[in-house]
C-alpha cells in the first residue's frame, strides 16, 4: 500500500472533536485495527485535539489542522496548532519534565500528555514554524503492538 494522505481543518472548538473522533474511528476500523486499539487511537486524538484547542489556539477561527497518513506499516497523525495565549516555550525538556512530575492520579488536570504517551506507539511534540505545536502520534498496523 502506497502512502496516502488525508487533511482535515476544523475550528479551534471542542465542539468539533467528536466528528474528528468518529472519522479516525471509522478510518481505523477500515484499516482493520483491533477494536481495543481503535479506542486507543480515538482517545489519543481526542487528547491531542483538546490540547490544541485549549492550550494551542488564541481564537476559535485560528483552527487546528490534522494531517493523517497511512501506509502498510502505520497510521500517522500530526495535529498542528498555531499557539495559544500561554508561553511559547512549553516544549523545553525542563518544562515537560515539570509537567510530568506534577501529574498525580488525584489531580483534575494534566493527564492528557501522559495518555498520549501511553497509548501511541510513537509520539513527538515539536514547536512549529507558525508559533504553535505539532503533535505526532504513530500507531503501527502489524497488530504486534497492543499496549497497556
Amino acid at each position: 500500500m502506497e502512502k496516502t494522505y488525508i487533511e482535515l481543518k476544523v475550528p479551534s472548538d471542542v465542539y468539533y472533536i467528536e466528528p474528528v473522533r468518529a472519522f479516525i474511528g471509522k478510518l481505523s476500523e477500515t484499516l482493520k485495527f483491533p477494536k481495543k486499539r481503535i479506542a486507543d487511537i480515538q482517545l489519543t486524538l481526542d487528547e491531542i485535539c483538546s490540547n490544541a484547542v485549549y492550550h494551542g489556539s488564541k481564537c476559535v477561527t485560528c483552527g487546528i489542522q490534522l494531517r493523517i497518513s497511512v501506509d502498510s506499516h502505520a497510521l500517522e497523525i500530526v495535529v498542528q496548532d498555531k499557539g495559544g495565549k500561554g508561553p511559547h516555550d512549553w516544549l523545553t525538556p525542563g518544562k515537560l519534565a515539570e509537567i510530568q512530575s506534577k501529574r498525580s492520579p488525584t489531580g483534575e488536570r494534566g493527564h492528557g500528555l501522559y495518555l498520549i504517551e501511553c497509548l501511541s506507539d510513537v509520539h513527538k511534540l515539536q514547536a512549529n514554524a507558525i508559533g504553535g505545536t505539532d503533535v505526532t502520534a504513530i500507531f503501527y498496523r502489524d497488530g504486534q503492538t497492543e499496549k497497556g
Partner: protein
C-alpha cells in the same frame, strides 16, 4: 427526572443517579461538570454516575469526576461510578483515577456501597 438531554437525573432515596447518554469528549465533559456542580449547589452529596451508554471518556471528563468526588467527600458524601465498558475502565486505570473514585459493576452495588 431532571437533567439535560444527555444527562438524565434520577433518584433513589437520598442518592442521585445520573445516566450519561453521550460519549464524554471535552464538549460533553463540560455539560457533565455543569450537571454535577448543579447537584453540589443543591446540597446533594451522594451521587452515582451510570456509564452504561458511554463508549468513550477523555482525561478532562475523568478529571471532572475526580474533582467532584473530592468535593462530595468534604461534605461526607461521595461519587460512585458504575457500568463502565472495559475501554473506560482502562482509561481510569491508566490515569490512576480508579484508586481515587470508586467504580462498581452495577448500579445496584454502587447504591448499596453508600
Amino acid at each position: 427526572m431532571t437533567g439535560t438531554e444527555f444527562m438524565i437525573i434520577r433518584e433513589n432515596a437520598d442518592i442521585k443517579i445520573i445516566d450519561v447518554k453521550t460519549d464524554l469528549s471535552s464538549y460533553a465533559a463540560s455539560d457533565l461538570r455543569k450537571v454535577l456542580e448543579g447537584l453540589l449547589s443543591e446540597k446533594v452529596d451522594k451521587v452515582v454516575v451510570n456509564f452504561s451508554e458511554v463508549n468513550h471518556i477523555n482525561s478532562t471528563a475523568v478529571g471532572t469526576l475526580v474533582g467532584i468526588a473530592k468535593r462530595l467527600r468534604q461534605n461526607d458524601g461521595d461519587l460512585k461510578l458504575c457500568n463502565l465498558a472495559s475501554t473506560l475502565t482502562r482509561t481510569f486505570n491508566l490515569i490512576g483515577a480508579s484508586s481515587v473514585v470508586e467504580i462498581y459493576e452495577s448500579e445496584k452495588s454502587a447504591i448499596a456501597a453508600f
